[in-house]
């Protein structure tokens, strides 16, 4: 009997990441409640910087790290290289993230911000090292491995540039202004880290959860090379020339890469054997729609930037909100309820299966809370995003209220799963 055994030691590290991420999501919603005014101005604002880093690091990256320790061994079909390294990375990442977010919030670019940035960079390098050493154990190379490892490298570069930008506040490192490098830093993180990582992992998980018969990886290979090409061209061109007419062409290459991935997802969806699509998977598909809407904002950002029209700031803010609070959040809100119940279910029931009747993983969370969470998130998207664009405080408040409801429901359901008590319904 042989298959990939889930190591019991992994449970604690994975679950810790999920809990901290859920708490960060709630704190993020509270931070937004106290920053409504900031969303009506320029995105280079202390509170917006704090919120963005809480969303990107405390929420998005924290949960991706946690899920990666569970899923990378599954996707790469080998065991995680080191749990100890994972714990060291976590214990550097959390204080680093908190120090950085707090320093941005009060905006004192001194020793606390610098220490936070260095701790984060070290934690991220250790995570990447763990992924690299895990992948090295495997003989056969897959396109998923290319996506995942490239994503980790991009995260390292994002953190390294971010650290340099933090030091640049007090010591002059760069000749150009912060905003020039902010675009590079943000897109290394968005397209390099989040997009490549999400494609790498989801290209294995989505077909698995849908029980899809589509197995070809050609579209994924096209997607990988197009996105990486677009990213490298954008980094070089943006460094030397800033946004210009060539940026349209570069964006087009990236969009073509993304289209290949979305086509892969559509093919998986159409060839699925499981016809009923549950709420977590619907949230996942909704996240792809939000990603497409975010992409639609790119030509407007470039166009108005080149015309020196300040409306480009509105488009940039909406673009950032759609990516961090739309795409990434919707994806996590859905996939948490596909992955976490399984992780907890295995711990409680693996030894009992086949002996007694047990609940199924989807019975471990409250579907009613998930429905409220989904409705809350939908209201958030329909009010907060237009609120940001049209600078409407009432819409922003309604949106943040809905996000708070979403965060509370999410947190409650995560704790319901984690505090699940083993139940049996009688002998088989």
């Amino acid at each position: 009997m042989s298959s990939i055994k889930q190591k019991p030691g992994l449970y604690r590290i994975v679950v810790t990441h999920y809990i901290v991420a859920a708490l960060c999501f709630f704190i993020l919603a509270v931070m937004m409640l106290f920053s409504v005014q900031a969303f009506t101005g320029h995105y280079f604002h202390p509170q917006i910087l704090a919120i963005t880093h809480m969303a990107a690091l405390g929420w998005g990256t924290m949960i991706i790290f946690g899920a990666s320790y569970q899923l990378i061994p599954v996707v790469l079909e080998t065991e995680l290289y080191s749990e100890k390294l994972a714990w060291i990375s976590f214990s550097l990442f959390l204080p680093g993230m908190l120090a950085l977010v707090y320093s941005f919030w009060i905006f004192i670019p001194g020793i606390h911000m610098q220490c936070g940035a260095v701790l984060l960079l070290t934690a991220i390098i250790l995570f990447t090292l763990n992924v690299y050493l895990t992948a090295k154990k495997k003989k056969q190379q897959t396109i998923q491995e290319d996506f995942i490892f490239s994503a980790c490298l991009c995260l390292c570069f994002t953190a390294a540039l971010g650290t340099a930008l933090v030091f640049n506040f007090t010591t002059s490192i760069f000749e150009q202004d912060q905003l020039h490098f902010l675009k590079i830093h943000a897109h290394l993180g968005i397209a390099g880290w989040f997009l490549l990582m999400i494609i790498g992992v989801s290209s294995k998980l989505v077909p698995m959860f849908l029980v899809s018969s589509y197995q070809k990886t050609r579209l994924l290979s096209f997607s990988y090379y197009l996105i990486v090409t677009a990213l490298l061209l954008f980094l070089a061109d943006s460094y030397f020339s800033g946004l210009n007419y060539k940026t349209y062409f570069i964006a087009l290459i990236g969009v073509a890469g993304l289209a290949c991935y979305l086509l892969f997802i559509v093919k998986c969806f159409l060839s699925r054997m499981r016809k009923k699509v549950d709420l977590p998977m619907m949230s996942t598909f909704f996240s792809f729609i939000l990603l497409k809407v975010a992409i639609l904002a790119i030509p407007f950002i470039i166009y108005y930037h080149l015309k020196n029209n300040p409306v480009t700031i509105r488009y940039s803010l909406v673009y950032g909100v759609l990516l961090f609070l739309g795409w990434i959040t919707a994806l996590i809100l859905g996939q948490t309820f596909k992955t976490l119940p399984f992780i907890v279910w295995v711990k409680h029931y693996e030894h009992l299966t086949g002996k007694v009747k047990t609940p199924m993983p989807s019975d471990l969370f409250k579907n009613s809370l998930l429905k409220i969470q989904s409705a809350g998130f939908m209201i958030f998207c329909l009010t907060f995003i237009p609120g940001c664009f049209f600078i409407s405080q009432p819409l922003l408040y309604v949106g943040i209220g809905a996000l708070l409801v979403t965060a509370v429901m999410y947190l409650a359901n995560v704790f319901i799963i984690l505090f699940h008590k083993t139940k049996i319904y009688g002998k088989l």
Binding site: S3, E77, T353
Partner: protein
């Protein structure tokens, strides 16, 4: 899938084992492993009281693989006292849509 051979005196027991394995569910799809077509063969070594199940998974990276395999072992040993069960995971023939029974397709809403 196991064929019924009337000349084999263990055929009835094999069919019974296959029916017993309908109690083992795929935790994600909520469908039993027989209707999913995951079980390829049942071998019984009567003198040593050993039952061997040859089966596959819907994918080689299925995170629930270990749970399904241990459920099969537990299910057999729980229902056939005195017998020990072993489960052999095989990847040929590769599991596909065509492996699902008509009943399984109905349950999946196909």
């Amino acid at each position: 899938m196991e064929n019924f051979d009337i000349t084999d005196h263990l055929s009835f027991m094999k069919v019974e084992i296959l029916e017993t394995l309908r109690l083992v569910m795929d935790p994600e799809l909520h469908i039993n492993i027989i209707d999913l077509g995951l079980v390829y063969s049942v071998k019984i070594d009567e003198p040593v009281k050993q039952i061997n199940i040859e089966m596959t998974l819907s994918s080689s990276y299925c995170p629930m693989g270990e749970s399904i395999l241990s459920a099969v072992k537990n299910c057999i040993e729980g229902h056939y006292t005195g017998f020990t069960a072993s489960v052999e995971l095989i990847w040929e023939p590769v599991w596909s849509y065509h492996s699902i029974t008509e009943e399984g397709k109905k349950l999946l809403g196909i």
